[in-house]
C-alpha cells in the first residue's frame, strides 16, 4: 500500500470516531440541503436544466480547440497576455516571472482551486512575495497553515470559537463569538492588503469563448477587489472552464450557486475581458490569463471519463457524499476532495499512488445524482478500480478472486463451501472479533450473519420432491 493510502486510512480511522466532527459537518450540511432544495425548486425543471448543462459542457469539452482559440483571440485583441501552461510547474514559473518583472512584493488572491492544484501560493512565497488569501474561508485556513477543507467552504470544519481563537492568536484581536464581528476583523485586515497589493490572482468559474471573458463568482466581493485594485491581474484557469456563449451563463450561474451554496445566484458576478482599456478609469494595467492543462488533455483523450471535464467545481458531490461527511476534506490529502477528487486525482497525480480513493467508496451514487452537469462519478470510480487492477493487483487478492470464480462456477463446490462454512461458524466464537479471525475486517465492528442450516437451494429441492 502506498504511503498516501496508509495516511488516508489512519486519518480516516481517527476522524470517523470523532463524534464532534461528525456532528459539526452534519449540522453545517443540514442547512445546505434545505436551502438547496428550495433553490432547486425555483428552476422550472431541475432535471432538464442538468441535461441542458451537460449538453453545453459536452459541446464545449469536445470542441475545446475551437472554443479555446476563440476565447484567447478575443482576449488578446484587448491586450490580455495569454500563457498556455502544460504543467503546474510551467504555470508557477510564468507567474513568478511576471511578479519579478513587475517588482511585485505583495499579492492578494481570490479563491482559485487551480492555484491550490499547482501550489501557486507556495511557489510565490518561495520567491519572496507575500500572498494573502482574500476569501474569508481561505484566509482562515491560510492563517491555520492548512489546505482548504472543501472546494467551496474551505473553513467548514471550524467553529466560530475556533476562528475567534485563531484571530486572537494570529492577529491579536479580542475574542468574540459573533460571526459579524469575526468577519469585520478579517475585512479590516484584508482591506489594507488590497490597497497595498501589486498583483491580484484569481481563478475563473467560467471562460466565455464568444466574448473572451472570464466569469468570476464570489459572495464577499473579494474577487472584484483582488482583480481590479492591483496593477496586475493574473487568472489561472483550467482549460475545461470554457463555455461557448455568454447566454450559457444564464443557466450556469444560477446552477452553480444553487448546487454549490444553496443560493439563487451568488452575490457578486464579475466579467473580465481584458486589462484597463484606453479611456477607462479603473482595472489593472496588465491582465494575464494562464490556461492550465496539467493532466487535463490526458483526461480529454479518455473517452470513458472525458465527462469529468464538465466539472464546474460546485462541491455538490462533496456535500452529499457519506464518505466525505464522515472522513472530512483533509483526509483525502488531495486538492480536489470528495467524489470528484477520487475520480480526478488518479488522473492528475497517478493511479498507482491514488487508487485507494476509488476503492474508498460505497458506490452509493449520491454524487452522480447531485452533480448538476451529470458527471457519471460513481461509475468512473468503478472504472478506476478496473484500471487499477489491470495495472497492478496484489497477488493474494488475485488469488482470492480466482478462487471466487472457481467456487461460483462450480455449483457443487459452492454448496460444499456453504456447508463447510456452516460447520466452521460453530467455532467462530473462539476467534470472533480478534486478529486471528479471518473475518476480522467485518467482525471488528459488526456481527457476522449466520449461515443457514437449510439454504434456499435446500428449500427448493425439498419443494420439488
Amino acid at each position: 500500500m502506498s504511503t498516501v493510502a496508509q495516511t488516508f486510512k489512519e486519518t480516516a480511522r481517527r476522524l470517523t470516531r470523532d463524534l464532534r466532527h461528525r456532528e459539526l459537518i452534519q449540522n453545517a450540511l443540514g442547512k445546505y440541503y434545505v436551502g438547496r432544495d428550495e433553490k432547486k425548486a425555483r428552476f422550472q425543471n431541475w432535471q432538464e436544466a442538468r441535461q441542458a448543462a451537460a449538453e453545453i459542457k459536452w459541446d464545449a469539452v469536445n470542441h475545446l480547440d475551437k472554443y479555446l482559440e476563440e476565447f484567447v483571440s478575443k482576449l488578446e485583441a484587448r491586450g490580455t497576455k495569454v500563457f498556455w501552461a502544460s504543467t503546474g510547474q510551467q504555470a508557477c514559473d510564468y507567474i513568478v516571472e511576471v511578479a519579478k518583472k513587475r517588482n511585485v512584493r505583495s499579492i492578494v488572491k481570490s479563491k482559485a482551486m487551480t492555484g491550490e492544484e499547482i501550489h501557486l501560493a507556495q511557489a510565490l512565497e518561495k520567491s519572496g512575495v507575500e500572498v494573502v488569501e482574500t476569501d474569508l474561508g481561505e484566509y482562515i485556513v491560510q492563517l491555520r497553515e492548512e489546505p482548504p477543507y472543501h472546494i467551496v467552504f474551505p473553513a467548514m470544519h471550524l467553529t466560530r470559537h475556533e476562528i475567534s481563537d485563531l484571530f486572537t492568536k494570529k492577529l491579536g484581536t479580542a475574542p468574540t463569538d459573533n460571526p459579524e464581528e469575526l468577519t469585520m476583523i478579517a475585512r479590516r485586515t484584508l482591506r489594507k492588503k488590497y490597497c497595498a497589493a501589486d498583483m491580484g490572482i484569481s481563478g475563473a468559474n467560467f471562460a466565455v469563448a464568444e466574448t473572451g471573458m472570464i466569469s468570476l463568482t464570489t459572495n464577499e466581493g473579494n474577487g472584484r477587489l483582488s482583480t481590479s485594485l492591483p496593477k496586475v491581474h493574473v487568472a489561472v484557469i483550467g482549460i475545461e472552464k470554457v463555455l461557448p456563449t455568454l447566454d450559457d451563463l444564464a443557466l450556469f450561474l444560477p446552477m452553480l450557486a444553487t448546487a454549490g451554496a444553496a443560493q439563487a445566484v451568488s452575490c457578486y458576478n464579475t466579467f473580465i475581458g481584458g486589462p484597463r482599456q484606453d479611456g477607462e478609469s479603473d482595472g489593472p494595467e496588465e491582465f494575464h490569463v494562464v490556461l492550465l492543462d496539467n493532466g487535463r488533455t490526458r483526461l480529454l483523450a479518455d473517452a470513458e471519463q472525458r465527462d469529468t471535464l464538465h466539472c464546474i467545481r460546485c462541491g455538490a458531490c462533496l456535500n452529499v457524499c457519506p464518505i466525505y461527511k464522515n472522513i472530512g476534506g483533509h483526509t483525502y490529502g488531495t486538492t480536489y476532495m470528495g467524489p470528484i477528487g477520487s475520480v480526478l486525482t488518479p488522473h492528475l497525480r497517478g493511479l498507482k499512488e491514488w487508487k485507494h480513493l476509488s476503492f474508498a467508496s460505497s458506490l452509493c451514487g449520491a454524487c452522480t445524482e447531485a452533480c448538476p452537469v451529470k458527471i457519471d462519478l460513481h461509475h468512473h470510480l468503478l472504472q478506476n478500480r478496473r484500471n487499477a487492477i489491470r495495472c497492478a493487483s496484489p497477488w493474494w487478492e488475485k488469488l482470492i478472486f480466482k478462487g471466487f470464480v472457481t467456487l461460483m462456477n462450480h455449483p457443487a463446490f459452492y454448496r460444499l463451501g456453504v456447508k463447510l462454512g456452516w460447520f466452521g461458524q460453530k467455532f467462530h466464537w473462539l476467534v470472533k472479533g480478534t486478529r486471528l479471525d479471518p473475518m476480522y475486517a467485518w467482525t471488528q465492528s459488526r456481527e457476522a450473519p449466520p449461515l443457514a442450516l437449510h439454504t434456499f437451494k435446500d428449500y427448493w429441492r425439498r419443494k420439488k420432491s
Binding site: 457519506p322 478496473r386 487492477i389 470464480v405 462456477n409
Partner: protein, 238 residues
C-alpha cells in the same frame, strides 16, 4: 406468467427466508416460478473490486443459465443492478454484449416487478408493526426504486410506515468497501442506525438484504434495539 427466480448467493446461504418469501408471494399471485439450481452468484464482488475479467467469467455462466428464461425476478436491488446496469458495462464491446442487453431487459427487481410490471400493490399481506424503510442505493439510483416498495407497504394491513430522516443515505455496506474501509463503513452505519432509531419503528425494512445485514450486524454489536426485515418477508406475512 412463468418466472425465473434470481436468488443471490448470500440470500441463498444466509437469508433463505427472503428468497422463500418472494417465491411464496409470486405463487400466491398465481404465477409459476422456477429456479435454476446451478445459479450461485452474479459476480458483483469481483466486479466492484476491479476484477472485471473474473466477474465476466462468472457472469457468462449466469447469462447462459437464464438464456431461455422469459422473465427474471430477483430479490436484491444491488444484485439486480448488477444484472441490468453493470452487465451491460461489463460486456460492452464483447461478443456477448447483445445477450447481456437482452438479459438486462428480462430482469426485474421484486418490488418493481410487482408494482410496475404486474400493476399489483396489494398482495394480501398483513403485518401489524411500525416500520421504517431504508432505500438501498443501488435499488434507488440504478433501478429507480422509490415509490414501488412504498406502494406495497401502504397496502399491508396493520402496517404503519414512518419515514426516517435521510432515508436515501447509504448505510455504509458497499460490498467489499465494508471490509476494505471498515472504519468509514461503520461510521456510515452508525449514522443510519441513529436515523432509524429516531423513528421508534419496530423494523427497518428494505429491498436489499445486504444493507440489512450490515445494519443488523452493527446494531447487534452496539446493542441497539433495531430489527431488520426484507420487504419480501413483510409481503409474505399473512
Amino acid at each position: 406468467m412463468k418466472i425465473s427466480l434470481f436468488i443471490p448467493c448470500f440470500i441463498d446461504a444466509c437469508y433463505p427466508q427472503v428468497g422463500i418469501s418472494m417465491a411464496q408471494v409470486l405463487e400466491r399471485l398465481g404465477h409459476q416460478v422456477e429456479y435454476p439450481e446451478d445459479f450461485t452468484c452474479c459476480g458483483q464482488p469481483a466486479f466492484n473490486s476491479g476484477y472485471w475479467d473474473e466477474a465476466r467469467a462468472v457472469a457468462e455462466k449466469v447469462l447462459a443459465m437464464y438464456r431461455s428464461a422469459e422473465i427474471i425476478v430477483g430479490v436484491s436491488g444491488s444484485c439486480g443492478a448488477m444484472m441490468t446496469t453493470f452487465y451491460k458495462e461489463l460486456f460492452h464491446g464483447t461478443p456477448l454484449e447483445a445477450e447481456a442487453n437482452a438479459h438486462a431487459a428480462k430482469c426485474w427487481e421484486f418490488s418493481d416487478f410487482l408494482v410496475t410490471k404486474l400493476g399489483v400493490t396489494d398482495v394480501g399481506a398483513k403485518f401489524p408493526a411500525k416500520v421504517t424503510f431504508h432505500d438501498g442505493c443501488h435499488g434507488l439510483r440504478e433501478l429507480g426504486l422509490k415509490k414501488q416498495p412504498r406502494a406495497l407497504l401502504a397496502k399491508v394491513k396493520g402496517l404503519e410506515l414512518i419515514e426516517m430522516g435521510a432515508a436515501e443515505s447509504c448505510c455504509g455496506f458497499g460490498g467489499t468497501f465494508a471490509v476494505k474501509f471498515p472504519m468509514i463503513s461503520t461510521a456510515m452505519g452508525e449514522v443510519k442506525c441513529d436515523s432509524a432509531l429516531k423513528t421508534n419503528a419496530d423494523y427497518i425494512v428494505s429491498c436489499d438484504a445486504s444493507c440489512l445485514m450490515h445494519i443488523q450486524g452493527l446494531a447487534d454489536r452496539q446493542k441497539k434495539p433495531l430489527r431488520t426485515m426484507h420487504l419480501a418477508e413483510v409481503l409474505a406475512k399473512q
